[in-house]
Symmetry: C2
Subunit: 329 residues, 2 copies
């Protein structure tokens, strides 16, 4: 029998208290069109409206806020080319300390600029020849910084779980909660919160087809590594589940479903044309699983975490432009 | 001295009561990035999340709901190629009656399909050879239908004013309210509500440069007609202000500012990349005026009506795609 999960509903609630005034309480959208298409009442938790444009600030801030005054004074660090970079930078600024973010030298200029805009120092590396984990640990050791991991940490998991805690506070009991799975932090935190509040809830993770490491790991009963995923869902291009996150997800998830890149693009278009919201590919995978019928027959009331909206118009256009519109067809 | 406005705060409040459970109470978004850029605290009333994707349901439903049972039983009609078509169709369905919508035969298929999807009958005409007003009146007379005008009617104006009533209920007193001006119904209703509640509020309309009929009319002191406007802001491609709307706007507006199509596209991009919301061109003109500095120095607290989000990804891509992204530059 695996050990008890190291994260509890109390941890998530304490994280929520810490995040008050820092993270937005994001809106929950509903759409009669969506409900009609999927045959259930769907509640979309819009973390694309979160600060830094994604749920990541919840975990990063919660973890940083739990450091000792000494640790905090020395500063924090992260390695990320994505939303966790901006989240760690903003967490540092909110807590009055400094952040160093290790980013690949070919990361998008817009993400570097946004991270620097929060006052973080950016250190670049060559992602083809250098190992970011070793570099990050060396950097943190040299400078006395504390690394804030992107998902595999109890405080990060508890922080991410506050998104689903808020969702359930707004909707009341749900029959199922659907969330994207990358490293598994959002999913694990969500599962801790939801199953503690409503033991009968179905917890459904969604991965891109090319990044099905958590699904395969659940099938194998142990963490497996898949080839580096090639998918438009860059926030889920992760080859191995986290250790702590997998331990929780193995215990609390009902299933992990897969979606294709084409289904993700269709969900992004649906979000744009019908919900009038912007979702990045990873932020749309939960919705994609619903719209593509990947979950099978849905129970009456389903929550879905739309986890982020960080995509610029150029990339959006590149992803959707060639295929034209399906609105109203 | 012009006659007293035929629409009062009481009318707007009664419209709000009628719209309860029919129109969404749309969210008000704020953005630190936006506030920093324009130097004011800005409250964005998101009517892009409204049913039918725009504020138009407010006025159409309020006007239809005020008909006698006999009138209602015979059915309602509208001529519109835009959001008012869908709004009238939905209003009819909500009130348990039928709607006939006169649309140009070359209207976008998606708008026709959406209008038909609400159960309306669509009658097409050739916009190059036929006069839609005459056609609409003949159709209504033949079939005993009541025409629901798109803006120039007290009940439509009162309905549209509920958007600003809700905004002020949420924000409390504002120093200025900025709204797009097409036929002038949203602006007039907003001005009635806002100036009655807060007599010191500045009411600022925004028109596309090519459709500056209300601005010119205010300068002339009487309604003038401009050449058929060529602008991407199709909801504001109107050549002459309404008679009732102009009477109200002449009395209650402080100014009307103009924005270029380029400024509208830039505002749509900002809404997408920073606010993570989808705005159609007309829905973005208020935001465009703020971002382009068209209003001059802003007072501390400014509300802006983002009036609609009906644009498909193909048109969005066509408008923004060629120019690439400015995110993070």
């Amino acid at each position: 029998m695996p050990p008890l999960p190291p994260v509890t509903l109390t941890d998530v609630r304490e994280a929520a208290a810490r995040l008050k005034g820092v993270a937005h309480r994001t809106p929950v959208l509903t759409s009669r069109t969506l409900d009609g298409l999927v045959g259930a009442r769907v509640f979309v938790k819009c973390e694309n409206f979160q600060r830094v444009g994604a749920f990541k600030i919840r975990g990063a801030y919660n973890a940083a806020a739990r450091l000792t005054p000494d640790q905090l004074a020395r500063g924090i660090a992260a390695y990320s080319s994505g939303n966790h970079a901006q989240a760690t930078a903003l967490a540092a600024r909110e807590l009055g300390t400094s952040a160093v973010i290790l980013m690949p030298e070919d990361a998008p200029r817009s993400k570097m600029a946004a991270t620097a805009g929060y006052g973080a120092e950016i250190v670049t590396y060559d992602r083809y020849t250098q190992d970011r984990t070793a570099l990050g640990e060396a950097l943190a050791a040299d400078r006395g910084l504390t690394l804030i991991p992107p998902y595999d940490h109890p405080d990060v998991i508890a922080g991410q779980g506050t998104a689903t805690l808020e969702l359930l506070e707004e909707t009341g009991e749900l029959d199922a909660v659907v969330a994207p799975v990358g490293g598994g932090g959002l999913m694990a935190g969500s599962a801790v919160a939801a199953t503690a509040l409503h033991p009968g809830v179905r917890m459904i993770g969604v991965e891109p087809e090319a990044g099905d490491d958590t699904r395969r790991s659940l099938e194998s009963g142990e963490r497996v590594t898949v080839p580096v995923p090639r998918t438009i869902a860059d926030g889920q291009a992760i080859a191995t589940p986290g250790e702590i996150t997998f331990g929780i997800n193995q215990r609390l998830l009902d299933s992990v479903e897969l979606v294709s890149d084409e289904e993700i693009v269709a969900a992004m278009r649906f979000a744009f044309e019908r919900l009038k919201i912007v979702l990045e590919p990873s932020g749309a995978t939960g919705l994609a699983a619903l719209l593509a019928g990947r979950i099978g027959k849905l129970p009456p009331r389903v929550g879905v975490i739309a986890s982020g909206g960080n995509i610029d118009t150029a990339r959006f256009t590149a992803l959707l432009g060639a295929e034209g519109s399906t609105a109203g067809r």
